[in-house]
């Protein structure tokens, strides 16, 4: 028996950045329609930017860059494996979103003449728009969403997408768990937009603290797993997210904020070794090499900056994205003025916002399952960041609106709901079972041991064996309250993502995207692998991997242009540094 049933026209799972704009747009297009947001946390502080953001990393502002230039830059940063139509759809729609945010009261950095103050951080073009007052962003989005009349249900952890009882190929709603009461909830609707964020609790941070992740740890890969179980294809899972972060703190250092003000990455000799601090796999490979060389570790250098510049950096970095970093530095007696900031390579995650892993989506935000859409860090538009989430959420809503107008009401299957109810609540029957944190620690430690790049088939096969065994062990994990039920549910998401990461990485027998898919047993990039690697659940319920052709480009690129991110290492100083003691 299910305790709560809600009916909707369009259901949005996850009220973060993408979810908010999806809901606002859906409600605008359906003024009398029922738009329901199902949120695991509370929308006022949920999603990847719970506390705010210090800038837009991929703003295509007229006069500074064109959509064509941006599509080229993102194509080269991804070694050519992109669905350019989806990147282009983002590129041409994103400036309107900036203007919309501006009108809603989001404060962007502007020049004396009132123009957007765009900075260069990428290897080629200029796309970074600072937002020094970005601590209000989520509050503004939440306010606009509430005023639009969207129905928000907080503290519901969605667990599965429901399929129609007759047509198993289309969606009929979502089912989830109230994480405070333990009630099982069903929302029925024609279209579902998944906006569940990254798989941010996949690798284990080197600190050993389960929640000391780069991504908001609420984002446990829920959307990747839910889309998979609904039958949708996922792509680029082997293109892991690996970030250059403040060591131990595991937050961004943050070169995007400090770079335009004069900060940069150096090795232990104080020498620059990369030409661009923009996060790409190619940059991460050079970062990894430097870190593990005699010239390591790697630091963010700010000590040469003027006191007023440092004060500005502190004001932005200690007030927006991860404000506790000031407390972290102070606790160790360090300051930007006197000490360089030690950096390291993060544990792995899956996140299209930074790399390319995600649920396969078209330029309309459609997954391969009719009625199912995805946006933000979990949808496959690469390097999409915050503005990508905001823009693609809106794109999904437009197309979902069209879809719900054209189809009749689906009906979820009562048997599916009952099965899911039993699966969700089963851990309560094992109050003395394995605690969720022990299970999670083990799976994530094994992810580090066997999947962290550089990768080899030998290691990944052992890892895969462990992840398959972990599927059985999940049945031993117990819970004593609704909160723990949520964590056990997340353990399943994390395990699913680990298996996907292993299988997709084993399948692609070449190296690509620098460190993200650096295989020691196949060290070279190969033209034979100029394809997407997609995975899905087959009719027997098994995970299968296949190749998907790269669609014809909308912006033609030469071979030389495609290799544009292969010269990230600084030539002269690095050679000199290599000869030093």
């Amino acid at each position: 028996m299910v305790e709560q049933v809600t009916d909707a026209d369009i259901i949005i799972v996850g009220g973060g950045s993408a979810g908010c704009t999806a809901a606002i747009e859906a409600q605008r297009l359906l003024p009398r329609g029922r738009v329901v947001v199902v949120e695991k946390a509370h929308v006022k502080r949920s999603g990847a930017i719970a506390i705010g953001m210090d800038g837009l990393n991929n703003a295509i502002v007229p006069g500074h860059a064109t959509p064509e230039q941006y599509v080229k830059e993102i194509t080269m940063a991804n070694d050519g494996i992109v669905n350019q139509r989806a990147v282009m759809a983002y590129a041409v729609n994103s400036f309107a979103m900036i203007e919309q945010l501006d009108a809603w009261g989001v404060k962007f950095q502007k020049t004396e003449t009132g123009d957007f103050d765009v900075k260069k951080v990428h290897h080629k073009g200029r796309y970074v728009l600072p937002m020094p007052e970005g601590h209000d962003l989520k509050k503004i989005l939440t306010r606009v969403m509430k005023r639009a009349g969207v129905q928000v249900i907080n503290r519901i952890a969605a667990s599965r997408v429901l399929l129609d009882r007759n047509d198993r190929g289309r969606v009929a709603g979502v089912v989830g768990l109230d994480v405070r009461t333990g009630e099982v909830c069903v929302v029925r609707g024609k279209a579902v937009i998944l906006c569940c964020g990254a798989s941010g609790r996949l690798g284990l941070p080197a600190s050993g603290y389960l929640y000391g992740t780069y991504e908001n740890p609420s984002n446990a890969g829920d959307g990747y797993s839910m889309a998979y179980h609904a039958g949708a294809e996922l792509t680029g899972i082997e293109c892991f997210q690996v970030n250059p972060l403040i060591k131990d703190y595991n937050g961004p250092a943050c070169a995007y904020v400090t770079g335009p003000l004069g900060g940069h990455t150096v090795n232990a000799l104080g020498h620059r070794f990369i030409e661009s601090d923009y996060w790409s796999g190619q940059m991460m490979l050079e970062f990894h090499r430097e870190l593990h060389s005699a010239r390591g570790p790697v630091y963010l250098k700010l000590t040469h900056l003027a006191p007023e510049t440092l004060a500005e950096i502190e004001r932005v970095l200690h007030g927006t994205e991860r404000p506790s970093r000031g407390r972290f530095h102070a606790g160790r007696g360090r300051s930007y003025a006197s000490d360089e900031v030690e950096m390291h390579v993060s544990e792995i995650g899956l996140c299209s916002g930074h790399s390319a892993s995600g649920v396969w989506v078209s330029e309309r935000g459609e997954t391969t399952v009719p009625g199912l859409y995805a946006a933000g860090d979990m949808a496959s538009v690469p390097h999409n960041y915050l503005l990508g989430a905001l823009t693609c959420g809106k794109i999904c809503a437009e197309n979902a609106r069209e879809y719900v107008g054209a189809v009749d009401s689906p009906g979820p299957d009562g048997g599916d709901i009952e099965d899911e109810r039993q699966r969700l609540l089963a851990p309560l029957g094992r109050p003395r079972g394995i605690p969720h944190h022990q299970y999670e620690y083990k799976v994530r430690r094994l992810v580090n041991d066997y999947l962290q790049p550089p990768k080899t088939a030998n290691r990944m096969n052992i890892g895969l064996e462990h992840f398959l065994r972990a599927r059985e062990e999940l049945g031993e994990v117990g819970a004593t309250n609704p909160h723990e039920l949520m964590r056990v549910l997340e353990c399943g998401f994390i395990r699913d993502c680990a298996e996907m990461a292993a299988r997709a990485s084993l399948y692609r027998t070449e190296s690509r995207w620098g460190l993200y898919h650096h295989r020691l047993d196949y060290p070279e990039m190969s033209d034979d692998w100029f394809v997407h690697v997609n995975l899905k659940k087959d009719a027997r319920g098994e995970m299968t991997v296949h190749k998907r052709e790269v669609a014809e480009y909308v912006v033609a690129m030469s071979r030389a242009e495609l290799a544009g991110y292969h010269g990230i290492r600084v030539k002269e100083p690095a050679a000199g540094a290599g000869a030093a003691p």
């Binding site: 603290y209 929640y211 407390r327």
Partner: protein
């Protein structure tokens, strides 16, 4: 009892079946609530926490960190209307 001949075989079979045991210990957790400032019945920080690790302590009726699952994001500290919350960086990271 190390002289029993089939000891290892028996114990290894038993090890796969025996249940789990309870331990009790205080931990260094990140979110610290000043009970003299925290308002009874106010649930603002409980709403703010993205990982839902805060709850009302039934003994004090005030907020407390119930689960050691903190992202040290400071949402609870920033949103608290009485400045009753201090977030420490988790010990493993400090």
């Amino acid at each position: 009892m190390s002289d029993i001949p089939d000891r290892e075989q028996r114990k290894s079979a038993q090890a796969a079946l025996v249940g789990n045991a309870r331990t009790v210990r205080d931990y260094d957790v990140p979110v610290v609530v000043d009970l003299t400032k925290c308002i009874t019945g106010c649930r603002i920080c409980l709403d703010s926490c993205p990982v839902d690790c805060l709850a009302v302590n039934p003994e004090t009726q005030k907020a407390h960190m119930r689960y050691d699952e903190c992202w040290y994001c400071l949402a609870c500290e920033i949103d608290c209307p009485k400045d009753a919350i201090t977030v420490k960086i988790p010990f493993l990271i400090r």
